[in-house]
Structures are given as structure tokens and as C-alpha cells.
């Protein structure tokens, strides 16, 4: 429940009620962190664990306000789930560029983090998604449990809530 249960304490005691004072920064960050829409986009076996199992009813991404979007234009978060080959790396870069600011990236699983089992003796696999796009949260595991994907999303929410409005304005210049 969290903030909802504490809400009556914050509501201003004015006739009619329904008014709450907060800083614009806090309000914007809170609303952004509570509706991270992720892109429906998987590369390998991690997609089954991270996008399908975690998105389905048992682990339920939706309770954090996370809904998948089938278009990068509507997405805030890209979960890079799986082995990233050199051929796919270009496509991932294009998809990342198509996402609207502010945008975040979660690198999921050993392959996306650093090549995983394909680190040695592989000609086709990119050794880490952070070589092409900036990554906010890394999840270890092969594949990671749905719980760790949820944990990563909570970490990302914490990161979004700490953002400063001034920095945000500067980044859009």
C-alpha cells in the first residue's frame, strides 16, 4: 500500500479537501517511476523468463504500473533480454534511438551483460550491450529469476525517484 495508506496525512485540511502539497520534482518523478512502460522485445531464452513469466499473472509486472508496449515510441524502458549478436546489435540501437526521452535500459542475464557463455571463441556475439547503448541496471543470472527482474525494476524506480528536475531540463536542451 505504501504511499496510498499515508495519503490522508498529506492531504491539506481545507474545505472540500483533495489538495496535497508536494514539490513538482517529487510529483513528476513519482508519476514517472510508477508507470514504466517497457518495450515488448526479447532476444533469447531470457525473454521467456523476464518478459513473459514476469509479465504474466504469477509475478505480475502490472502492480508496479509496468505494461508492455509493442512500439518503441510508447516505451520508457528497454529490457535487453538475451544474447545480443552483432547483427541484432544494429537493430537494438535503432530501437533504442526510436524511444522517446527519458529512456532507461535494463541489461538482463549473463549474455546481455558480458556475452555469457559466448564470451570466448565466438564470432557473432556482442560482448555486452553497454558497448552500444547506456545501461541503468544489470541483472546477473542465466536466466535470472522473475524475482530478480522485479528487483531490478524496483532499483530503477529508486533511480528515477532520485532524479533532479534541473538535470532533466539540462538533458533535453
Amino acid at each position: 500500500m505504501g504511499i496510498i495508506s499515508k495519503l490522508p496525512a498529506y492531504v491539506e485540511r481545507v474545505p472540500g479537501g483533495g489538495i496535497m502539497t508536494t514539490s513538482a520534482e517529487k510529483f513528476l518523478n513519482w508519476s514517472r517511476a510508477s508507470s514504466i512502460w517497457y518495450m515488448l522485445f526479447g532476444l533469447a531464452c531470457c525473454a521467456i523468463e523476464g518478459l513473459m513469466a514476469t509479465g504474466a499473472s504469477r509475478y505480475d509486472f502490472d502492480r508496479f504500473g509496468m505494461i508492455f508496449r509493442a512500439s518503441p515510441r510508447q516505451a520508457d524502458l528497454m529490457i535487453v533480454a538475451g544474447t545480443l549478436t552483432h547483427k541484432m546489435a544494429k537493430r537494438v540501437k535503432i530501437l533504442y534511438d526510436q524511444m522517446a526521452e527519458p529512456k532507461y535500459v535494463i541489461s538482463m542475464g549473463g549474455c546481455a551483460n558480458r556475452g555469457g557463455p559466448f564470451y570466448y571463441d565466438s564470432y557473432s556475439v556482442l560482448k555486452g550491450v553497454d558497448k552500444i547503448i547506456p545501461v541503468d541496471v544489470y541483472i546477473p543470472g542465466c536466466p535470472p529469476r522473475p524475482e530478480s527482474v522485479l528487483e531490478a525494476c524496483l532499483k530503477l524506480q529508486d533511480k528515477i525517484k532520485k532524479e533532479k528536475l534541473a538535470d532533466w531540463a539540462a538533458s533535453t536542451d
Binding site: H86, K87, Y119, Y120, D121, S124, L126
Partner: protein
């Protein structure tokens, strides 16, 4: 026909084209000259005793150090008789040169993608191929063939010996 019978039939019927034959792992195996590669494929497909209508596997091996070239290996399968045949040929090549051979995609359309993969990984040129683009590697690969022995490029990291 079992493998022995099949091999006996093929070696008698096409003996002027076959340079080596035997049974490897229970499968009849023949070796032909690179020049006969397409013609013998056509014969084996059209021959009513063999009827090889399908390609199970098609690829290459880098034998530049051992035999002085690339060996093309194709495994054929007949739905009608349920028998298999492995056909090989040695393409002479030295160093970084790209050997040429006639395509089989006119005989078996399924050979198209097998040849595209073999071409990009080993640098073998299939003459007359209808669609000689990259299949699995990205568009930047040019003049680099990762399945060749000793290849090292991109961010290739060789596993250190223990």
C-alpha cells in the same frame, strides 16, 4: 536398398565420376571432383533407383592444412526409399583465396540457404547462386570468414588454455 546396395549401385552407375567411396558410420559416402558436383547431383535426383529429393545437411570443412582445400559435404535423403548418401568434394584453396563451385540451388531449392551460410562462413563462392547475400552475419562482414581456421577479428576472444 541398404547402404551397401546403394553404394554398389551408385559406384557402378557413375564410376567415371566417383574418385572415392565407402561406408562411413553406416552411411554410403562418395567423393567426386568439383567439376562434377552439379551434374552428379542432377543425376542422383533424377535417377529412379535413388530419387534423392531432399537435402538433410550441406556444409563445408576447412581442410586447408590437412588436404589443401575446403571439403564440401552434402547429405542427401530419399523419402521414397528412406536411404541416405553423403557426397563430398575437395575445393583446392590456399591462404585467403576464395574457391569457386557451381551452385546446387537449381537442383534442390533448399540448398539456397545452406549455400548462403557456407559462403559467408567459409568464403566459398557459389557461382550462379540466385541470392548471394549474407544469411546470418550482418551486412558489414566483407572479406572476413569466421569459420576459417585461425580467424581472429571483431572482438573475438580466444579461450585461454588452462
Amino acid at each position: 536398398m541398404d547402404s551397401e546396395g546403394l553404394l554398389k549401385y551408385i559406384t557402378e552407375e557413375y564410376k567415371d565420376k566417383i574418385i572415392d567411396s565407402g561406408i562411413v558410420g553406416g552411411v554410403a559416402t562418395i567423393e567426386v571432383k568439383p567439376g562434377d558436383w552439379e551434374s552428379i547431383a542432377e543425376y542422383l535426383k533424377g535417377d529412379m533407383e535413388t530419387r534423392f529429393l531432399s537435402v538433410s545437411n550441406y556444409g563445408a570443412v576447412d581442410y586447408r592444412e590437412k588436404l589443401g582445400g575446403y571439403q564440401l559435404v552434402i547429405t542427401l535423403f530419399s523419402y521414397e526409399f528412406n536411404h541416405k548418401l553423403t557426397m563430398k568434394t575437395l575445393l583446392p584453396a590456399e591462404g585467403e583465396e576464395c574457391p569457386e563451385i557451381k551452385t546446387l540451388s537449381a537442383v534442390w531449392p533448399v540448398a539456397d540457404w545452406f549455400e548462403r551460410e557456407t559462403a559467408e562462413l567459409f568464403g566459398i563462392v557459389f557461382v550462379g547462386h540466385p541470392d548471394p547475400r549474407h544469411l546470418m552475419l550482418d551486412e558489414d562482414w566483407d572479406g572476413e570468414y569466421p569459420m576459417r581456421r585461425g580467424w581472429s577479428g571483431r572482438d573475438f576472444i580466444t579461450k585461454p588454455d588452462k
